[in-house]
């Protein structure tokens, strides 16, 4: 295998300090809502109180008469201005920024008040009176599959994903997308199997809970509109607003700020369509700042039901697996169809299985819309396949780790969906985590109130493909560099990683490369910051731009020295001629070249990936993704049989990251994702009653606190370099969350002999299972 060889070796693999860390700790970093912009009016939203109803009338007279109110705007008002363009969304153009004719979930925005203060806007929004004609709602994902009550009259694919256009106009269904994978003979193999396990699994919807709340400001600027928003997807938002307002791209500017966490919550269309529509239509500057309760309504993680089975032959080799997956996407599809396919294709796990059948469906219900969430739907299917494969090992009386190890995909193996494995060392991840927790060592199991167990799980995920990244690099005359990319740093450390990649190529030291915050007027197009794609995609664009810069410098130096370019090498000390042994620093070289101080040398590069769309009949593709993520988690835990509380004593997580550009940041990503996964295993869930979220505050929504942290966490970096990754690197943001919940559940199975199929594993659920002897 060939991997890019670092010339200078000054940056990649180093534990550089996180860019902006000091400002964050000192509270000096400015997030979007802290950025100074022109004075804006405040917007408050009146939200629907019905899960499914026609809007019979909206009385805004009292609201309009409230002191300080500039305008009260309904969906009908905006529809009169924008027509069907009011419907936005990445997969389906199905979501209006204010409800038109119908509401489809409790809390849907129905009208907006523009006022001179937040208080006036809020008071006026409370004065809006809406009369509804109730329609039958559908809350349960399986009931929605059956039909009867339909959330949408017909499907409306957007222009973003061309492969969905055949669904346009389809009626009388809540299933907006279906992915099917068929290879081999799953049914026949099951009949011939020596051991078969089956199960019905459920992952509840959850919320992202980033610390920074969603925020968008928008204002007209002559014939243009400017937007400042907390978003992971500035390039997407610009296109979406161009479509919404029917403006050319160059009349829309979307600026970002560093995000205070997101995890998928600030992607695609969130507050931006409403803010932009109000600002443009009413020609006023506005800001929309979501409260915490409103943030819970903006987007959620898909709840998912999985019915699956796995079977092995007498030798302990997996021979068949199937999965019927139903993703609850809520009232609007968002990116649910993509989640349905990308997760469906690996719904039977990272195993070499010849006979596979998967049916994965994305289903509308009358709940808040579900969208992207760290893991992109994969943790939900991993919950099922890693529980099943564990139970299969138990049935065979075999060590669960050894059983997995024998069946895991290896380098070059073609997975069930038809794409070969590369740079995805599942066995190394499995071995690393089991070794870390002392898998084969003695375990004090306990025989009184506390019982102990150990569990392991493995995860696989495909990187988002195809996508596009661009980078523009300005090398300043003084030898510092300014990097322009539209990747958004939201805590994952992309500003640090990208700086290290550029610095590695150009032999620059720590702090010499600064990354410019995304601004569509300034920074070049980037598909999105999501799906752990940035290190690979944007990183490659940065690497290419830096290599172009290196080539330009060596060319300039060759002229300076009067030697061939091949004789010049860029080093941390400057450019050196091997023939003459003369050295010139970057500052002197550029000063001599331009004859001025403060000049810049600019290069740019783009990096795109392509894929082969899956076959519509079989769901298979020889190149469905650019690369794979491989990860594993192992847990040793104790269960309090008196209370049902689970205490994780040691958690080890490993991810194959190809090459760790910054090992410290990789370890932090592995640890952060593991803790979030621990929350999903033990606490997190959105609770609904008749479509109403009843725990949508931080008083009620349980997250892991510092007291719930494992006694010990071991993040482990596995490096199996990718042949085209920047210095062999891939992403890592999602890797550790994927196998976390089943690893915990498998340890519970080991501790108390009970297989859980529904998350989260709350003390109540565990205690009830202990009393009944079954989950």
């Amino acid at each position: 295998m060939t991997v890019d060889s670092p010339v200078g070796g000054v940056a990649v693999g180093e534990r550089w300090a996180r860019a902006g860390a000091r400002a964050k700790v000192r509270g000096e970093l400015r997030y979007a809502a802290d950025e100074p912009v022109r004075p804006c009016h405040d917007v408050a939203v009146h939200r629907g109180t019905r899960p499914h109803a026609r809007i019979a009338a909206i009385d805004v007279s009292r609201a309009a008469a409230t002191d300080g109110v500039i305008a009260v705007v309904t969906g009908a008002d905006l529809y009169a201005e924008l027509g069907d363009r009011i419907y936005t969304g990445p997969a389906f153009a199905d979501q209006p920024c204010l409800a038109v004719d119908k509401v489809r979930y409790v809390g849907e925005p129905v009208a907006a008040v523009i006022a001179r203060s937040p208080g006036a806007a809020r008071r006026a929004a409370e004065e809006i009176a809406v009369t509804y004609d109730d329609l039958p709602p559908v809350h349960d994902v399986d009931a929605a599959v059956e039909g009867g009550a339909y959330v949408h009259d017909e499907l409306r694919p957007s222009a973003v994903f061309g492969d969905l256009k055949h669904l346009r106009g389809r009626r009388d269904t809540n299933v907006n997308y279906e992915y099917v994978l068929r290879t081999g003979d799953a049914e026949g193999a099951t009949a011939a199997a020596a051991h078969t396990v089956r199960g019905d699994f459920w992952c509840p919807p959850t919320h992202h809970v980033p610390i920074e709340l969603p925020y968008t400001a928008a204002w007209p600027e002559g014939d243009r509109i400017e937007v400042l928003s907390a978003t992971q997807t500035p390039s997407y938002v610009r296109q979406s607003l161009a479509d919404l307002l029917d403006l050319p791209l160059n009349r829309i500017r979307v600026r970002c700020a560093p995000l205070g966490g997101s995890f998928g919550a600030k992607m695609y269309d969130r507050l931006e369509p409403l803010a932009a529509a109000l600002a443009w239509t009413y020609r006023v500057p506005v800001r929309v700042a979501a409260t915490r309760e409103e943030a819970f309504l903006l987007t959620t993680r898909h709840g998912a039901a999985v019915t699956g089975s796995m079977a092995a032959d007498a030798d302990g080799m997996l021979i068949t697996a199937d999965a019927d997956v139903r993703y609850d996407t809520g009232a609007y599809a968002d990116v649910g169809p993509r989640i349905t396919a990308k997760s469906g294709m690996i719904a039977t796990g990272p195993y070499a299985i010849a006979n596979v059948g998967v049916r994965s469906r994305c289903v509308y219900t009358n709940k808040p819309s579900a969208g992207p969430f760290r893991g992109f739907g994969v943790p939900q299917v991993t919950w099922a396949h890693e529980s099943l494969v564990d139970e299969l090992a138990w049935e065979r009386g075999e060590d669960p780790a050894a059983f997995r190890r024998r069946n895991l995909l290896r380098e070059g193996d073609v997975a069930a969906m038809g794409t070969a494995m590369h740079s995805a060392d599942f066995t190394a991840c499995l071995d690393a985590v089991t070794e870390a927790i002392g898998w084969t060592g003695p375990l004090e199991r306990g025989d009184g109130r506390w019982r102990r167990g150990k569990g392991v799980a493995v995860g696989i995920k495909a990187v988002l493909t195809p996508t596009i990244s661009n980078a523009t690099l300005q090398l300043n005359q003084d030898g510092s560099a300014t990097l322009l990319i539209s990747t958004v740093d939201m805590g994952q450390g992309s500003d640090t990683i990208m700086a290290q990649i550029a610095a590695e190529v150009l032999c620059l030291g720590e702090g010499r490369v600064r990354v410019v915050t995304a601004d569509t007027d300034v920074t070049p197009y980037d598909t999105i910051t999501a799906g752990s794609r940035s290190t690979y995609h944007t990183g490659n664009a940065v690497r290419l731009a830096a290599e172009k810069m290196r080539d330009r410098l060596t060319g300039l130096a060759a002229g300076h020295f009067g030697v061939a370019a091949t004789d010049v090498k860029l080093t941390p000390d400057g450019l050196v001629s091997a023939q003459t042994q003369r050295t010139v620093g970057i500052a002197d070289l550029l000063h001599a070249h331009f004859g001025a101080r403060g000049t810049t040398l600019t290069t740019e590069a783009d990096y795109s990936t392509s894929w082969t769309p899956y076959d519509k009949e079989t769901g298979r593709s020889p190149a469905v993704t650019e690369h794979w993520f491989a990860g594993a988690a192992a847990v040793r835990l104790a269960v309090d049989t008196a209370t049902g509380r689970v205490r994780v004593e040691h958690l080890a997580v490993a991810g194959d990251v190809g090459r760790a550009i910054n090992p410290a940041l990789v370890e932090q990503q592995l640890t952060g994702a593991a803790v979030m996964g621990l929350g999903h295993a033990l606490f997190d869930q959105l609770v609904f009653d008749e479509g109403q979220i009843v725990n949508g505050t931080l008083l009620d929504y349980q997250l892991p606190s510092v007291r719930d942290m494992p006694d010990r966490i071991t993040p482990i970096i596995v490096e199996s370099p990718h042949r085209t990754g920047p210095f062999g690197a891939k992403g890592v943001g999602e890797t550790a969350i994927i196998p976390l919940a089943p690893a915990v559940s498998n340890a519970l199975r080991d501790a108390i002999g009970i297989r859980f199929t529904r998350l989260p594993l709350t003390p109540e659920r565990v205690l009830t299972a202990l009393q009944k002897g079954t989950a």
Partner: protein, 176 residues
Amino acid sequence: MNLGSSFVIPADASRVFDAFLDPDAMRASVPGCTELERIDDTHYRGRLVNEIAHVRFSAGFTAEITEVREPEEVRAVLKGEDHRLGSSIKIDATLSVRPEGAGSEVSYRMDVALWGKIGRLGESIVRRRSTEVERQFVAAFTRICTGQPPDEPGTARTERPSFWRRLLAVLRGKSA
């Protein structure tokens, strides 16, 4: 959310049953019911002013009697809305009355859908409040059914402001 309970009223079943369909009796019994009028044989209209946790609401509501089996059971659908709070409620209620010794046992089952701000308070808070409301209702309804003078209409809930309201009143220098 499903709520249900039973209680005993020291009056015969037919009297109890009639009182349930009498808007004046119900207005005096239901805590916070400030208005209640019969529109026709099966439809009622009213207003409920009450408080759950820290949230005070004033909801106009309608009730439709969907089934009556005198003097044993009545089924009704109630819908209410507080526009200011952005909250609405829908209740499918079944109420049964059967003789119990010298009195009557009243059982009710309610399938309650609460949406908006009040709904977001969560089931545990609403359930706890409903227990308090039931206690107040039974006391007032017993007075009605046993011929004692009722409280003033709409005052059944207002026997004592909450701790926080009393504290606020003290801080503002008003009498609690």
